[in-house]
């Protein structure tokens, strides 16, 4: 999986900022300890260590931390995953 480019990250950050922040899922690389100083730990909702991923509740003033080089991919929380049963 190729990481998001800086332009993609910036666009997503600005979109998030315009909505006043929100819950995001983040994929990071490296050790979490290296990435942690770039975050307010109060924003961390859940840390999925096995996947190198986080769920964060970002306030509007915190969205630009997603520009951290350790962040590979991030997106807003979604709820649109459905069971794939074919309806007749």
């Amino acid at each position: 999986m190729t990481p998001m480019s800086a332009e993609q990250k910036m666009t997503s950050c600005l979109n998030l900022l315009s909505r006043g922040g929100g819950r995001v899922s983040v994929q990071y690389e490296g050790e979490f300890d290296e990435f942690k100083p770039g975050l307010n730990e109060e924003w961390v909702v859940e840390h999925f260590e096995g996947l190198n991923m986080l769920t964060l509740d970002l306030p509007s003033h915190g969205v630009l931390c997603m520009m951290h080089p350790a962040v590979l991919n991030f997106e807003e929380e979604r709820h649109d995953f459905q069971p794939l049963e074919e309806q007749e």
């Binding site: 190729t2 690389e29 859940e46 996947l51 991919n73 709820h79 995953f81 459905q82 794939l84």
Partner: protein, 525 residues
């Protein structure tokens, strides 16, 4: 006539009719079996109520009689048998088209695969990431080992929808599923009111990695790309969990693969009918979001009978139903190779190798339709397992991945690494061949592709990648990462002994090194 040839219901009726206080209606229709010659006389003398009919074709006399008439028939010498003519039969309602064409996954995907008769997935754990599982269903026989709600703020387990129970039944149901002895881990990601969230799915995938489950079944998807979820599926697969994901039900148009089936390392499953022909609804490649091809494989997913969350069975269709078929096949294969540390890797390789496309395009069914009978046919001939084991045991027993199967680069087929040449200037030359199309020169000698690795960069690789994958390069993402060198480190402190393994990507040239415990790195020394 022998009384024994009188319908007991008639005897009962007319016995009751004899009693004065009986409410039973005296007149009753009877059918008497009598030869045509004797029937004429009986027609005249029978004290019947209403008309008497004789059907010469079947030699039966029909009449409505009272007790006297019945007695007359019983005592008549030419009457062979007396039956109740008012008897009604419960005619079974005709099966609708869906029921007529429905089958269990076990019947279609397991079939008569006697080569796998001892492989029912025993000791293999399959996580079902779905709407929950009705664990008390008879077909699971207590093999639902744990039930966890991954839905935020909800501890409720069980299945209120039915989808998850149906999926789990196709994987591990004793009479309905492919792997009748597999253990099921129920990871509920769907809440009671609609879709699953990214967080709940990440939580479930993280549990799969932490618990080191063998296989995870994801019969879910979205119509939109999710980079994070695709990355999470890749991370789960890199940790060694076989990740089966439904391709989606948005077919037959091209570019309709769903996320997370679009993830590079997912085993994206298309749905077919019982004859292996792709279902119209099954999503088609090419992959709309990324460069790699999808789906990967196909299996039975139309009108599937499986466990119902209310007990008994029900019928469902979809790539959701095809995915557990593949998960079940993988469970059987993992059990078969359970003594091998690379069991999961071998199972996935064999699965893809053996699949039969039945002449259909890659965009429809990937490598093709898979079932245990298809695998049985495959392993009776030359197979990847034969090749892999032969190489592993005879040629390079200490290092399977040096001889492992690689994929990527210019060759779209999987490749075998034959030789690593360490050069004086610090570069490496790798000798590869395509596994499916072996090139030979005029004299019949093998012709290899050679790859020169010059540029080396640091690349971080997790410990589990060393165990299960050693394939995916952190730099370029292609499946070209191989171990090059391993050195034992003599620690002065009383620490757990470990080794350093240098790894390199065949395609982008990036390199890395990592310390791993000695028992894991022993193979590389």
């Amino acid at each position: 006539m022998s009384v024994g040839r009188v319908d007991p219901r008639l005897m009962e009726h007319f016995s009751a009719a004899k009693t004065p206080s009986s409410d039973t209606q005296n007149t009753h229709g009877v059918a008497a079996s009598i030869h045509a010659d004797a029937s004429q006389e009986l027609l005249k003398e029978l004290p019947a109520v209403g008309p008497v009919t004789y059907l010469p074709e079947i030699e039966v006399l029909l009449a409505d009689v009272e007790v006297a008439g019945f007695q007359h028939l019983v005592e008549h010498q030419e009457v062979h048998a007396l039956s109740d003519a008012e008897l009604t039969f419960d005619v079974p309602s005709p099966l609708d088209a869906e029921q007529q064409s429905s089958h269990t996954t076990r019947a279609i995907v397991r079939g008569d695969a006697y080569a796998f008769s001892e492989n029912e997935g025993k000791g293999v754990t399959v996580a079902v990431m779905d709407t929950g599982v009705y664990a008390e269903h008879d077909d699971f026989g207590g093999r639902v080992v744990d039930q966890i709600s991954c839905v935020e703020g909800s501890y409720q387990v069980g299945d209120a929808h039915g989808h998850g129970t149906h999926v789990a039944g196709s994987i591990g149901g004793a009479t309905l599923g492919v792997a009748a002895e597999a253990s099921i881990l129920d990871l509920r990601v769907f809440g009671p009111y609609g879709g699953a969230s990214t967080s709940s799915i990440l939580r479930a995938l993280n549990l799969c990695v932490q618990r080191n489950v063998d296989i995870v079944n994801m019969s879910l998807g979205s119509n939109y790309a999710s980079r994070v979820l695709d990355a999470a599926v890749d991370a789960t697969a890199q940790a060694g969990v076989l990740t089966c994901v439904a391709a989606g039900n948005s077919g037959p148009s091209p570019y309709t693969i769903n996320s997370p089936a679009s993830a590079q390392q997912s085993i994206a499953v298309a749905a077919t009918k019982s004859d292996g022909q792709v279902a119209s609804f099954s999503s088609r490649g090419p992959n709309p979001w990324y460069a790699w091809a999808k789906p990967d494989i196909a299996s039975f997913g139309v009108n599937v009978i499986s466990a119902s969350h209310r007990g008994g069975t029900c019928v469902m269709s979809g790539t959701s139903m095809a995915t557990p078929a593949v998960a079940g096949v993988l469970a059987c294969l993992v059990e078969r190779f359970n003594e091998d540390p690379d069991a999961r890797f071998l199972a996935e390789s064999l699965l893809k190798e053996a699949a039969d496309p039945f002449g259909q395009s890659y965009n429809s069914v990937g490598r093709g339709y898979i079932s245990l009978p298809v695998l049985r046919t495959h392993i009776t001939g030359t197979s990847i397992v034969d090749i892999a084991f032969r190489r592993k045991k005879k040629q390079m027993p200490k290092n399977f991945f040096r001889d492992g199967i690689l994929k990527g680069g210019n060759c779209t087929e999987e490749r075998i690494l034959h030789h690593v040449l360490h050069r004086a200037d610090g570069t490496y030359k790798l000798r590869l061949s395509c596994r499916n199309q072996r090139k030979k020169d005029d004299k019949g000698n093998m012709v290899y592709d050679e790859v020169l690795m010059e540029k080396w960069q640091h690349s971080k690789v997790t410990q589990k990648q060393f165990i299960h994958a050693m394939r995916n390069c952190g730099g370029c993402g292609k499946r070209g990462l191989v171990p090059i060198e391993a050195n034992k480190i003599e620690s002065k402190k009383k620490q757990h002994p470990h080794v350093t393994v240098k790894v390199g990507c065949l395609y982008c040239g990036s390199k890395g090194a990592r310390k791993v415990p000695e028992e894991l790195g022993q193979a590389w020394i």
